[in-house]
Symmetry: C2
Subunit: 657 residues, 2 copies
């Protein structure tokens, strides 16, 4: 059964971001509902998201008073406002997640729950369109009085995103009507026109939401308001004291570095990218490019995680990337996925797909337990077993954020261009993709990705006219082979001659008249790679990280009974071998090999003269070690974990026997 | 001229901490006024402290409204309260610093300024003894209502410490009377007796102050109140939610780890040590010993600095010691010096003197510019040239804290025991020390310490009876020689056979009838030592720090024009040679030698496959490098600096030519 037959997706156009008519975008996202994942990696995760995570989050929203806050605002319930002033946004993110889920998996019970929550939200809206349950009753006079701290417009942005998703997924306008009234209220209040005021939110979010509302409604006012808000930043005098924490230190077009609160700056970049797709806003692309360079070459963890500092949940300085105190908020990783998705479609360049994939498989996925019930807010790259996932948080931004990303994930796999289809991500499944000329191509992927690099793409239904089919070759692929209908292609461009790691990803493709039944086989080499980092990352000096395919690995104590994984040194040359273990952590490929362990910790000394520290032979011994994908850590008993492993130094070098 | 002839020191007993009658203390501190420093290291710093720092700080206290706050409270001035709620404490710390300065260097102008400030303070005191300028007028009803956050008792503690110093230094009771009235007010309010309330300050400080006030006045109530406050912590229910940030997670006697705000926990340890010197409080010594082990073996920088985290100015986990984001507040280092001084006198064990010296020369001294005008709040061990000292801070705890420590520094050099004299610190100067039997010994030190390890101690005046003269042999001394009156002593115990670095300091000494004119020459070997750190300190893996004598070294860009000091690798074996440069940074011994530089930064890549990172020969080159004492960094043009230097890894090993 084609998922296009689903009644709720009859509207047939539910892309995560709708660039279908964006004049400056190279690619057009395909609807979430057009892609059905049937693989053993993502499909079970999406099922858990639907069956476990979404119901549990709705329960949390009820039990913590987040929905009661709406009932209070509408007068249905007498109670105090409960929780944090931005708690409305968690309900909206849940609505967005549930809507995306309905786009691929109709579910009358879930749809009824969504309708019920929307009814509570709608009832809480004021006559003038204003909606924020914190600023009601005695706090009504405080509306718009503290844009810097109180996330008022941020909450509006999440409502708008939820409404757009709900409308795209179900065709219903119940929430969209609420969102339009609220957006109109914003538009009456803020803007450059006489009688309106300057202002933007201390926490960006509404910018991208308003562009999407413009796309959904055709109302250019919303696009103008989004751009007004982006351009408000960094003016003199500053909205927020020209503080880099709020990205208010420079006008957006002059921003070259990610600063301050990580989620905010990444969300700002999302909004600016959406604006760059819709307008010829001068300087936007250049700023976005500079920011991307800064993120990927100066301020990003090897997992794709962003935001180094606990204080302010913020970006650090260049190369400030501590492992044990990595903040790397799950929401920041999600923001990076969202931003790279927008950049990918804006430019058509595969490096953004690479970074999106890296971040998704590592920095985002580590934020959720394998059973879908617990969350990390921070995602450190080294730990002693103290950092554990929680069922919920007082500030619960991350749980529904990961739920909405997972629910919409099918929408991230493909884009279309004027001439054909780009395949960005790999997983077994089916996609019905409408080409620019209105014809449909039905693609079937068969692969064990990310566990191996063999990918088969079957064209099950082909259009009558030629089109280009382009496949992403990830930056980590050092080579490989391509066959079309059993015939090896030699000039496939897979050898990574730039060969220098990083994100030298590209799309390679073939423009031809494809026939139903055509098969492309992509055989990516997927070696275990040792990554080093720039020497200015102080905590990574003398250490390597392991990568295989899109996955970053870590060593967790549960797999390594013979030595503390923090006391284990990898040999610089001895290989670690991949081995798929079906009953481990939901089925993972582990890396196994020989390493060295030492027993410094027995002496417990903090500092000492190094000549006295040449550990005697008896304190060094070879051990067999096992690494697991980073995303899967902290799903068993607590224990030490680390990503960046020491490699042997001269005075520790010993033969492995 | 003997400084004992100074009229202001006629009272003759002005020790920094007065353990003269403490029943459980092994040693007795000698008065600040008994020691005159005449060396080229400390004496000029103390002169700058008197001539530059103290006047500038008084000016700051005036200009920032800190003294006006007292005038406002006394009704002399109509104005708003200015600055932060604990700003009174800065004025008190300045008074304490100025008092200690008067103890060694009478100065009528300074004394008049002190008297004038004391008059403002005294005039602001309420009839009932209460004194805190923040809690006046409209805030009077809030007194004692938020002990956790508002530093009310903390400010009282600093007043008491200032008053004790002022009384010891000048014999005047003008401030002591104010302090007693305030302490009586505290004592009427807090305590276990019926009608009194439980409570202690969220920021410890008053505990040690009250013990000192007890010592100064003989009023046991103050000692009991101090102990009550220490013992209030960690009860159920907790004063402060049993939060480790406030050291409220466990009763003090059960505390084994430094937690939370670093200055607070170190000040708590000071107060507890004072109580352990006065009472047989069960469990106190054991807790103090466990805390010291935790500090020195798990949570301390190689400079002696403490407190790893910006968030909460707090201790981190074991081995959480980031270099570039080291918080290492100057006040925490000062707290550690104060605590180790108390532990040294409580126990008589030289390891505490070693740690006091290490912290003083490195983590404290880096907090002040060479010209005495600018301060670090944080003291990182690696920087890119952005971290610079400031003239003052809104939260200005550090500047007057360093001033009071420097002004009282002569008091940290010696102690007496029942049987003689312990020499803890080394610097050219004269000391007139009253022995336990009432006789006086006059010692003259001649040394170039810390630049070399040759120390001559002349007994200029000897008592009639035998006494023991004990000298501290620092833990870093790997050997050396002793001569008494030109005769070499063979069983001097200087060879550090435990030889494992760390703090194997001890006092070695000789009990005999000393004659005026006797000379002891101590020749400590003072090699350049490479320190390694525990492998769980992630940022120090593959790196070494350089130490020579009590000084930790760093590499600063200003001395190393040929390569970025962050891109410089020390060879594991090639020596660095000491060289005294008189016109550099006030005269310092630098370390010079050959190292390797590389040019990774040209490629600017954050992550890459390591086999591709084997830098070609052309990217590696030998350079001559220069290290300076860590305390002296950031006194010239901004540039990169680091303490922990990479040492060559196998794939970077090259011969130096």
């Amino acid at each position: 059964m084609s998922i296009l037959d689903n009644p709720v997706t009859a509207r047939s156009a539910a892309p995560v971001v709708d660039m279908a008519r964006s004049p400056y975008a190279a690619l057009r996202p395909v609807p979430v509902s057009a892609v059905q994942l049937q693989d053993s990696f993502w499909a079970p995760r999406l099922a858990i998201n639907r069956e476990v995570t979404l119901p549990a989050q709705l329960r949390q929203c009820e039990e913590t008073g987040r929905i009661d806050n709406f009932r209070r605002a509408s007068g249905k319930k007498q109670c105090d406002f409960q929780g944090i002033y931005f708690n409305d946004s968690d309900v909206y993110k849940w609505l967005e997640a549930a809507s995306w889920s309905l786009a691929t998996h109709p579910d009358p019970k879930l749809e009824a729950e969504v309708d019920a929550v929307i009814a509570e939200v709608a009832a809480a809206q004021d006559e003038d369109g204003y909606l924020n349950t914190y600023f009601t009753f005695e706090r009504k006079p405080e509306r718009w009085s503290n844009l810097k701290d109180l996330h008022e417009i941020y909450c509006a942005g999440h409502l708008i995103q939820a409404a757009v998703a709900h409308h795209r997924a179900t065709g219903k306008t119940t929430l969209l009507d609420v969102a339009r009234r609220l957006a109109d209220c914003l538009d009456r209040t803020f803007g450059p026109e006489p009688g309106k005021r300057s202002g933007a939110c201390g926490h960006e979010e509404a910018e991208m939401a308003l562009v999407e509302l413009y796309r959904e409604t055709g109302e250019e006012r919303y696009l103008r308001l989004a751009r007004f808000m982006v351009d408000q930043r960094g003016q003199k005098p500053g909205l927020f004291g020209n503080s880099p924490y709020y990205q208010d230190h420079l006008p957006f077009v002059e921003q070259q570095e990610f600063t301050g609160h990580a989620v905010r700056h990444l969300y700002l970049a999302c909004g600016a990218t959406d604006i760059a797709a819709e307008t010829d806003a001068p300087g936007y692309r250049e700023a976005l490019e500079a920011l991307w360079e800064n993120l990927t070459q100066k301020r990003m963890y090897v997992t794709g995680g962003a935001g180094s500092r606990y204080e302010g949940e913020a970006f650090g300085n260049d190369y400030e990337l501590p492992n044990d105190r990595a903040y790397t908020e799950t929401c920041a990783a999600i923001g990076s996925v969202m931003w790279n998705w927008r950049m990918l479609n804006l430019t058509g360049e595969a490096r953004f797909a690479d970074l999106m994939e890296l971040t998704l498989y590592n920095a985002v996925l580590s934020g959720l337990s394998l059973d879908g019930t617990r969350y990390f807010y921070q995602n450190p790259l080294a730990d002693r077993g103290k950092h554990r996932r929680q069922e919920w948080f007082g500030c619960a931004c991350c749980p529904p954020n990961i739920a909405r990303l997972l629910a919409s994930l099918p929408g991230y796999f493909y884009s279309t261009s004027e001439s054909g289809v780009h395949v960005h991500l790999y997983a077994t499944g089916v996609a019905n993709i409408a080409l620019a000329n209105g014809e449909t191509v039905r693609l079937v992927q068969r692969t064990n990705y990310p566990w191996d690099g063999e990918i088969e793409i079957l064209i099950e239904e082909a259009p009558t006219v030629p089109f280009e089919l382009k496949l992403r070759i990830p930056g980590w692929a050092v080579g490989g082979s391509v066959e079309i209908n059993g015939q090896e292609i030699s000039d496939h461009g897979l050898s990574n001659e730039e060969g220098a790691g990083g994100w030298y990803a590209r799309h390679v493709g073939w423009h031809r008249t494809w026939q139903a039944g055509d098969v492309i086989r992509l055989g990516l080499l997927i070696p275990v790679q040792r990554l080093g980092s720039h020497p200015h990352v102080q905590g990574n000096w003398g250490r390597v990280a392991l990568q295989r395919g899109p996955l970053i690995y870590c060593f967790e104590q549960a797999d390594n009974p013979d030595a503390d994984v923090w006391d284990t040194i990898l040999h610089p040359y001895v290989e670690l071998h991949p081995e798929f273990v079906p009953d481990l952590l939901g089925g993972v490929t582990v890396l196994r090999g020989r390493a060295i362990t030492f027993y410094y910790t027995d002496t417990d000394r903090l500092y000492g003269r190094i000549q006295e520290w040449q550990a005697p032979e008896s304190l060094l011994s070879p051990v067999t070690v096992t690494a697991i994908p980073y995303y899967a850590w902290a799903n068993r008993e607590p224990g030490p974990m680390q990503v960046w492993m020491p490699i042997a130094l001269p005075w520790q070098e010993r033969d492995l026997c």
